[in-house]
């Protein structure tokens, strides 16, 4: 018990002092997860919108696949990216394995289906309301995609935050493709896993508290977005 409170005290001290190693880990975590989120959003949101408005053979199958991939275990995503990036893999010559780029790729792979599937759900409801009016304007499916993405912007912000939450909290994928190399690919979740197993509780606790703070902030932002949305969506 004394060990615990001592560890807690040290953790608070590290955060308050702005410990350099700690800050580096936090910043890398944020850089990896936000970059992965940006890439996943560029692919996933338009894909979700297209699935909401277009009717084509195979659409149903894609939706089922995306919904299934929402539950893709991070270690499996990590394994797939590992196989692709490993020396003998198809992308091996790029030399990306055990770099932050590999971690970004793995997290983007993990959350793109989440963004696409959630965006599809949100925008399909909106499309049911909009379809007749937009067809009356002469809006084709290609034109309806940006219209829905813009009109769904507040709801999609919540979708983005869900994706960010998933990316920033996962440990399996970044552990496999990043390798948890100190000062290079060590992020909050892998550091917590490592430090806990080593028994270095202060660093693990400090990182845990920061991760929690980020999660709380993200959820506060989500709530703010929903409030703004209800003002505009009526």
């Amino acid at each position: 018990m004394n060990d615990l409170s001592a560890a807690f005290g040290t953790a608070v001290g590290m955060i308050a002092a702005g410990d350099a190693a700690l800050a580096a880990i936090v910043l890398l975590s944020l850089r990896v997860s936000f970059t992965a989120l940006a890439i996943a959003a560029l692919v996933g949101l338009p894909l979700g919108a297209l699935l909401a408005v277009a009717r084509f053979p195979g659409r149903r199958a894609i939706i089922v696949a995306l919904n299934a991939l929402m539950g893709l275990p991070p270690v499996v995503a990590g394994l797939l990216v590992y196989l692709a990036l490993s020396r003998s893999g198809p992308l091996g010559p790029l030399g990306l394995l055990f770099t932050p780029s590999a971690m970004i790729i793995a997290q983007a792979l993990l959350i793109t289906p989440i963004l696409a599937a959630l965006a599809r759900q949100v925008l399909e409801t909106m499309w049911e309301e909009y379809e007749e009016q937009l067809r009356s304007f002469g809006t084709g499916a290609a034109r309806a995609v940006p219209t829905l993405l813009w009109d769904g912007r507040f709801a999609l912000l919540t979708v983005l935050l869900a994706g960010f939450g998933r990316a920033s909290a996962e440990v399996g994928a970044v552990m496999i493709v990043g390798g948890n190399i100190e000062g290079f690919t060590r992020v909050m979740t892998t550091a917590i896993a490592l430090e806990t197993s080593k028994g270095d509780l202060p660093l693990a606790l400090a990182l845990g508290m920061i991760l929690m703070a980020i999660v709380v902030t993200v959820n506060a932002l989500a709530q703010g977005a929903r409030d703004t949305a209800s003002r505009w969506a009526g």
């Binding site: 007749e132 009356s136 304007f137 002469g138 809006t139 003002r231």
Partner: protein, 240 residues
């Protein structure tokens, strides 16, 4: 009289529409000519809204054709439609009116002036920057009218535009419709409100069980309907 590039008359021939095994419209032939508003009346379920959607091009008929006098582009900027429940974009009132203008390729420099002019026409000039979905029901329907009128369509379809509005809002909408008609826009509307039909109609199309039972100039129709169904409908009897 007729402009060379006019889409009027819009001619429907042998129009039928069936969905899920039920015939909703049967063998409708109708010519929409330039002139006063054409008001389609009839009991609920007569097929009024479906007929409007077929004429506008939102639905494809099971049989028959809809042709206009000019280049057929369905739907296109020469015609617009306002729905019973306005579907407003989650943007400002002004942005709602700008949307179809941008879609129709109106040059950027002219868009805003056109949009503000349309807002002024419906009395919403002060509301331009308000979120559209925060407006009252009547204001929303007026905004939908402004949006439809912004491109200066030759033909404007209105599907029960006042069905869920209070009398004051209904009156405001009717004044806008009358102003658009006076400006030369051909109005084709449905209503279940006989008083509204009397106030606005140039001609009446009486629809019953998917067929046109009677059609004529509004004053003559209301003074002496030719068919027993129309007589019964006008006296407020339930007909089926």
């Amino acid at each position: 009289m007729r402009k060379p590039d006019s889409i009027l008359p819009l001619v429907a021939e042998g129009l039928s529409f069936a969905a899920g095994g039920a015939t909703i419209l049967e063998d409708i032939s109708l010519s929409i000519e330039a002139g006063g508003p054409t008001v389609i009346i009839g009991p609920n379920g007569a097929g009024k809204s479906v007929l409007l959607r077929l004429l506008h091009g939102l639905l494809a008929p099971s049989a028959g054709t809809v042709r206009d006098a000019g280049r057929r582009e369905v739907p296109g900027p020469a015609q617009a439609m306002v729905f019973q429940r306005p579907v407003l974009l989650r943007r400002s009132a002004l942005a709602n009116v700008l949307y179809p203008l941008r879609l129709a390729g109106v040059p950027r420099a002219e868009r805003e002036a056109k949009a503000r002019e349309a807002l002024a026409l419906v009395g919403l000039a002060q509301m331009a920057d308000r979120p559209a979905r925060q407006l009252s029901g009547g204001e929303q329907q007026r905004l939908a009218l402004a949006r439809a009128a912004a491109l200066g369509p030759e033909l404007l379809f209105l599907d029960e535009p006042c069905a869920s509005l209070d009398p004051a809002a209904t009156r405001a909408v009717e004044e806008i419709v009358a102003a658009l008609a006076a400006r030369g826009t051909k109005i084709v509307m449905t209503t279940h409100d006989l008083g509204q039909a009397r106030r606005l109609a140039g001609e009446i199309v009486f629809l019953h069980r998917g067929r046109i039972i009677e059609r004529g100039e509004a004053p003559a129709f209301f003074a002496s309907p030719a068919t027993s169904e129309a007589k019964a409908f006008l006296t407020g009897e339930l007909i089926w």
